[in-house]
């Protein structure tokens, strides 16, 4: 049985991610100099929160288990910058640690793909309204591009893709709610080899008990109930290989789970599980038993 380090090393060689892996210590070094940030759900779409000139570094890890076995273990650092208080630019790079190649790539977190793509994402908060102390309604449009560094699913030629998403929600000192949808489309002809297109919808409800609504230096905690739906549209949602649809790709899955976010003045951590509550996957794909994610977040202004 391979040790994880051998797998990681082989994987890194295979996907030509060694330069990206080399960047991780730099990212972590930057993060160690940063103040903490992080303010939102783990899996679901939300609105950006960076101020103008603000920087954030997120490092996320996600594992997808089918049965008792890990199917996909990914690490992904992401750097974000607030161009204005309403426009945020994010860039993330993949560090796939382990993959059995049996599951379709999904979104790792809402703003990070699990596919081995380098992603640039621009978020524009085109609407915001603050009706009271501690409360605001806001809506954000995201547009981005993905550039693959590895075939995903394995065997299907990688293809660049575009990503678009829309999310709207309400945040207050006690209640949070966001609803959003995301679409990712490969930039290839339908008959050319490419991974299937993806549609994701998410609903997030959050709560912070009144006794936790405290100012610094007290920690800021809140809990979320997150629901994510992943859906594909016919052949377009399935991988294409040599002019034929790859049978074991695409389908519909709905996952729900609790997550928690904690902010501690200089850094933040969030994470939690997602459990499938509905699954109708094409072909003979293993059914996920649980999806686990953990995000460390840091920021500075």
């Amino acid at each position: 049985m391979d040790c994880i380090f051998e797998r990681v090393a082989r994987r890194a060689r295979h996907v030509h991610c060694a330069p990206l892996a080399a960047c991780l210590p730099v990212v972590l070094l930057l993060a160690s100099r940063a103040l903490a940030n992080g303010h939102g759900p783990v899996y679901g779409l939300a609105t950006p929160t960076l101020s103008e000139g603000g920087w954030a570094v997120d490092v996320g890890a996600m594992d997808r288990l089918a049965g008792t076995r890990s199917q996909d273990l990914n690490l992904r650092p992401m750097v974000s910058y607030g161009l204005t208080s309403d426009v945020q630019l994010s860039a993330s790079v993949p560090l796939p640690l382990y993959s059995r190649g049996t599951l379709d790539p999904v979104r790792m977190m809402a703003l990070m793909p699990a596919a081995p793509d380098v992603e640039m994402l621009l978020g524009w908060r085109f609407h915001r309204q603050a009706p009271a102390v501690g409360a605001r309604f806001e809506s954000t449009l995201y547009a981005g591009v993905d550039y693959p560094v590895e075939a995903s699913p394995p065997g299907i030629a990688p293809a660049p893709a575009v990503v678009g998403a829309l999310v709207t929600g309400y945040a207050s000192r006690s209640i949070y709610a966001w609803i959003g949808g995301l679409y990712r489309r490969s930039l290839t002809a339908l008959e050319a080899d490419h991974p299937g297109d993806q549609i994701m919808a998410s609903l997030v409800l959050g709560y912070r008990p009144p006794f936790l609504a405290r100012d610094a230096p007290a920690a800021d905690w809140r809990i979320f109930l997150e629901g994510v739906g992943e859906y594909t549209l016919g052949d377009q949602g399935q991988g294409q290989l040599a002019g034929r649809t790859v049978p074991n790709t695409g389908g519909t899955e709905v996952l729900v789970g609790p997550t928690v976010l904690g902010l501690f003045g200089a850094w933040g951590i969030s994470g939690g599980p997602l459990f499938p509550v509905y699954s109708a996957l094409n072909g003979n794909q293993p059914t996920e038993r649980v999806r686990l994610a953990l995000i460390f977040t840091y920021w500075w202004f």
Partner: protein, 180 residues
């Protein structure tokens, strides 16, 4: 030489920009109400942008109370518009501003104004809730009052004032949010 100096001073008193540059008045303390801050990072973002304003001595931002308490350095030229712009830059909505300021009262376009260093004078109005009328032109005035949301250039609705250099005892006058 002396004549030239006198002429320059006379010209300066009629040119608004020069007049404000000569004014020695300043804002001493501000409580700024902020809408939309729901989290610890939000208050930290507001704290960071306000702290960068030259002349700010200390800032305390409270998510719980939805506001920022700002103490300013002697000789500062910080304006309410500048402060509110910083809060918008952080992504949040500045509402009413309570302030304590000291400066000379003057008349500008028929209205009483408080001359402040490095910025346009702020118009003075008696508060609708029955506050005192401002001091007379030429007097130094220590004023406590509120600038309404959306009116970054004033006026100050005067709640308390002293027409001398003597300041009221600290904490004597409650602020709009009831905070200390």
């Amino acid at each position: 030489m002396r004549i030239a100096f006198v002429v320059l001073c006379a010209v300066g008193s009629f040119v608004p920009g020069l007049a404000s540059a000569q004014a020695s008045g300043q804002i001493l303390e501000i409580h700024q109400r902020v809408f939309g801050m729901d989290c610890l990072p939000c208050s930290q973002a507001v704290h960071a942008t306000i702290s960068r304003i030259a002349g700010v001595e200390s800032v305390e931002v409270s998510m719980r109370r939805g506001g920022a308490d700002i103490h300013l350095l002697p000789g500062n030229t910080v304006s309410v518009a500048q402060l509110r712009a910083a809060i918008r830059k952080a992504g949040y909505e500045p509402k009413e501003t309570w302030l304590r300021a000291r400066g000379e009262v003057a008349v500008d376009q028929g209205a009483l104004v408080l001359k402040l260093a490095g910025q346009a004078p702020l118009r003075l109005e008696a508060s609708a809730s029955g506050g005192p009328v401002p001091c007379q032109p030429g007097e130094d005035m220590l004023v406590e009052g509120t600038i309404e949301a959306g009116k970054d250039q004033g006026p100050i609705l005067v709640e308390q004032r002293k027409c001398s250099a003597e300041s009221p005892a600290p904490g004597q006058h409650p602020r709009p949010d009831g905070g200390g």
